[in-house]
Symmetry: C2
DNA sequence: ATTACTAGTAAGCGAGTAT
DNA sequence: TATACTCGCTTACTAGTAA
């Protein structure tokens, strides 16, 4: 949708055109939008064609109402602003289920980790991690976690090797509870590793390539 | 502000660029905005010139952060969406104080009205109404009151004449409590009549032509 | 008064490319 | 790899005006 049409739609909504007919001439609308009468008229024609407004054209005046389609579009926009300014305790990602390398299983089966997961997260994870690939550009959102308080899993040693610290954040995947694990050393990547009490692939019926929604919660 | 720049700013904010530097190439941004690398680059230059973002240009990547000015602009936008979808129990107007015809005083001094104001609104109004002229196009917002429950002041008679019914809504003008009165018969006009316990012109130090903010509250 | 078409002008776009 | 310039093309804008 063209940005200027969205602005026009918003202006109409502000004047009460959601679930209500409002009476507004193209010249009045033009003044609101700080443009010409002709342009305002064109905007209305375009919005009408897209089914975002409904018009009743009289000889002197026109009645305008935002349609359900138009309202939805505005609500989408509203949600985005809420994400920016209100839902600041969480980050929302869309991603694709990825076939892991089986590494996750090796780590989640280490007693040193399991014991801490149980203590600090309150569950023993199903072996393995569910890997989700996010859009490369969205890794920027992960930066927000940088200065935030995490659930820290401490490093530990076995006879053979050392297992590094891990930061965890409570999270949901398609509504199911769990946590994401971020190894402390590695750089932020575009792959999220999700652990859960459940076998998520089975519970949520996930196959490689499926789109999922992940919400990560944090404090501050 | 150009609509497409606002959309760009919002996109950056969604990626976490408020109070945070994010790492994003013009090509990545272009993908997010569904436009070309050149256009995204131009947008960033424009936003930078307007002081809405701050950039650190490296050879390979650029770090971008939304500035205070940019954040304010986004918050303004957020507020408008809140007005559309959340603050549905009120209407907000900006208007100009208008010199009345003295009619208000005549009506507000009628015992038949005074008694009902005291009973239903909880105060005896200072004699006279404060008249506020709103933008002509904003009279559309008043339509929202049409189907809404009002505080109804009943008609009554004196020896000489009949005084008609009036609908009242609790309201605030520049933060001060009172009510607006809408005569039942008259068509919605672009003049709001405000009554209050206080002498508002004095209390708020208002002169003709001063800009005021009025909030009208209603239920459903 | 309105809306909205036409036509000429201005602004925006993106391919090519320098840096 | 990047960013962002030039330039030809397209889209958007508004004055004039018909309906």
């Amino acid at each position: 949708m063209k940005p200027y049409l969205l602005q026009t739609l918003k202006e109409l909504a502000l004047l009460g055109a959601i679930k209500n007919k409002i009476e507004i001439s193209s010249l009045e609308l033009a003044k609101q939008l700080e443009t010409s009468q002709q342009t305002a008229s064109r905007y209305l024609v375009e919005l009408d064609k897209k089914g975002m407004i409904k018009r009743e054209l009289g000889i002197k005046k026109q009645l305008i109402m935002v349609t359900g389609i138009g309202e939805e579009k505005l609500q989408e926009e509203h949600l985005q602003y809420k994400q920016i300014f209100e839902l600041t305790d969480r980050i929302i990602f869309k991603g694709k289920v990825l076939s892991g390398l089986g590494e996750g299983r090796y780590y989640t089966e280490q007693d040193g980790y399991i014991e801490q997961f149980r203590e600090k997260l309150g569950f023993v994870p199903y072996p393995g991690t569910l890997n989700v690939e996010i859009e490369y550009v969205e890794r920027n959102k992960l930066r927000l976690l940088k200065n935030s308080k995490a659930i820290n899993i401490e490093e530990f040693q076995t006879k053979n090797r050392t297992f590094g610290s891990v930061r965890c954040f409570r999270a949901k995947i398609n509504g199911s509870d769990g946590a994401i694990v971020l190894p402390l050393r590695t750089h932020y990547s575009n792959i999220l590793e999700f652990i859960s009490y459940n076998h998520l692939r089975e519970k949520l019926n996930l196959k490689d390539g499926d789109e999922v929604k992940i919400v990560i919660y944090f404090e501050n």
